[in-house]
């Protein structure tokens, strides 16, 4: 008998191996761990042993692009099958969750996959709140893993950040409190670090802070709010100083200084001046000419919350750095001119 394989067998074998690849990857993605999943794509040089589709070490997962595409082909088939057969939809939750997890790993902008996950959660909206909360938290764990992994496109995916926002909106509906500062440290700053000038991460943070802010209208939360805000400003400021060329970080710092925090003008001025002084001191020390730094400084210094001293220091700094770094003159001069044009009256 010939050892050659007939076409149907070849196809069925190929299908069988694709199915195994899919099963392995889907299983890895639904690993239950308390920490977030850390997913990376292995370059071709780092081969996975034959017979395996995915490397797992604790909460660390690695797949090759090739295997992921193979898994995607199976995932897509499953996904559209159950999407069409609406009667089956209800009983195929696990299958759809697995398939969409694989789809979103290859293509984070697959909106239909993301929305299917939302629809699966929505089915529990009429049921007990506790059950819904558990599901929402699990979904948060899932999306945070993708947003913080070392995956170039996922950290800056509007679909995934939008998905996160939807989950938090549902938690808000259930009147569940959410720690914005924790999210900043564990999710947003990580994503911002992995993908510099991460517009979507910082936008998300802006939204998050405003939605879960214990507004000053609730005086009994007053002191907690103040220290939370000053902690947030401190964390963001330190991050910006470590990443001085990241304009998105500085933009968010401005947002915090101007929109959050103490209701009284003098308290705000103090916080602003302190942050401004810290940034200016290091800018002078390191002779920074990053545009991001100077856009931040000129905006604070020109505002009503600046002190006279801050303005003097600002202009002096520009002079001294211009001498030391003539190639940064364009940025420094632009900052100086902008400030002079837009200066508002200051308090002190």
């Amino acid at each position: 008998m010939s050892r050659a394989l007939d076409p149907e067998t070849v196809i069925s074998l190929q299908k069988a191996s694709l199915q195994t690849v899919y099963n392995d990857i889907a299983l890895a993605l639904s690993t239950s761990t308390s920490e977030l999943l850390e997913i990376e794509f292995l370059p071709k040089s780092h081969a996975i042993p034959t017979g395996c589709s995915v490397l797992i070490e604790g909460n660390n997962i690695a797949v090759t692009k090739v295997k992921l595409v193979q898994a995607f082909m199976v995932a897509r088939e499953i996904f559209f099958k159950y999407m069409r057969e609406c009667a089956e939809y209800d009983s195929k939750e696990k299958e759809l969750l697995d398939a969409t997890a694989v789809i979103l790993l290859l293509d984070p902008e697959h909106l239909t996959a993301a929305n299917t996950r939302k629809r699966l959660i929505r089915k529990y909206e009429s049921g007990p709140g506790r059950e819904l909360e558990v599901l929402l938290r699990k979904e948060l764990w899932f999306v945070d893993g993708y947003l913080t992994s070392r995956l170039h496109r996922h950290t800056k995916s509007p679909t995934l950040w939008g998905h996160r926002r939807w989950i938090l909106e549902r938690l808000k509906d259930l009147k569940i409190e959410h720690d914005a500062l924790q999210d900043l440290k564990l999710v947003v700053l990580v994503a911002a670090e992995r993908h510099p000038r991460n517009y979507y991460a910082w936008s998300h943070m802006r939204w998050l802070v405003q939605v879960f802010d214990n507004s000053p209208l609730h005086p009994e939360h007053g002191s907690k709010t103040l220290s939370d805000h000053s902690q947030m400003i401190s964390v963001v400021k330190n991050w910006c100083l470590r990443n001085p060329s990241d304009t998105s970080g500085f933009s968010f710092l401005l947002f915090c200084l101007f929109k959050l925090g103490a209701p009284s003008a003098s308290a705000r001025t103090e916080v602003c001046s302190s942050a401004c002084a810290d940034v200016l001191r290091l800018a002078v020390s390191f002779k920074w000419t990053h545009e991001s730094v100077w856009v931040f400084l000129r905006t604070v210094v020109a505002s009503e919350m600046a002190t006279k001293k801050a303005r003097i220091d600002f202009f002096q700094a520009i002079e001294s750095i211009s001498v030391a770094h003539p190639d940064g003159k364009r940025v420094l001069d632009a900052a100086k001119e902008w400030c002079q044009r837009n200066q508002k009256g200051c308090n002190k």
């Binding site: 850390e38 370059p43 040089s45 780092h46 660390n60 690695a62 470590r242 290091l282 390191f286």
Partner: protein, 203 residues
């Protein structure tokens, strides 16, 4: 203000020998970390070998800079940082760790007539890990600046590419291929990264 590598190498032998080093590999997933680590050591050695006693140089490549300071004693301290890290400060740190190392380890512990004898030696600098972490914090770096050492910034030679440090007719790919410190996997990793023009940060 990222620092990826801080270390001291014996550079009066070829290949240069890493006596102590600390690395920050947190930007990489655990499965590719070992290759990146090997490349950092490879870069440090390659540049240390080409830094003459008394010389200071900065070699830029792929958004990172390798700062080197070679001492008369046949040692070279190396710092690999992101490109925006202030050079003067990097060199002050290089001087600092060199001084500390020489205070801790007498000349006899690393000078030898036989190159092979030193191959397995590692001489610790216990503060190294601490410095790697501390000097990524701008406030700590600021305090280093205030303890000014006599350092002439104009003496630091700047190379915009690693190729400009190499001898004529020596190609980086060949050095990579020949290197004993790089695993087969790492060499392949480099080849493919080069093809895709993607960054292998320290190369």
């Amino acid at each position: 203000m990222k620092i990826y590598y801080i270390g001291i190498l014996k550079n009066d032998i070829k290949p240069a020998h890493e006596l102590c080093a600390e690395k920050d590999l947190s930007a990489y997933g655990i499965f590719t970390r070992s290759s990146v680590s090997e490349f950092m050591t490879f870069s440090a050695k390659t540049i240390a070998e080409r830094t003459r006693p008394g010389q200071r140089q900065d070699v830029e490549s792929n958004e990172s800079t390798c700062h080197a300071y070679a001492h008369q004693s046949g040692l070279c301290s190396i710092l690999i940082t992101e490109q925006t890290y202030p050079s003067l400060i990097a060199h002050q740190i290089l001087s600092k760790i060199m001084d500390e190392f020489l205070t801790l380890h007498p000349l006899s512990s690393f000078t030898t007539t036989s190159a092979n004898a030193s191959l397995n030696t590692t001489l610790d600098l216990p503060n190294l890990r601490g410095y790697l972490l501390q000097y990524q914090d701008p406030e700590n770096v600021d305090s280093v600046m205030r303890v000014q050492r006599e350092l002439d910034e104009t003496k630091i030679v700047l190379h915009k590419t690693i190729e400009s440090v190499l001898e004529r007719n020596v190609k980086l790919e060949d050095l990579v291929a020949k290197s004993e410190g790089l695993s087969g996997q790492s060499k392949l990793f480099y080849k493919q990264a080069k093809k895709q023009n993607s960054c292998c940060v320290v190369m």
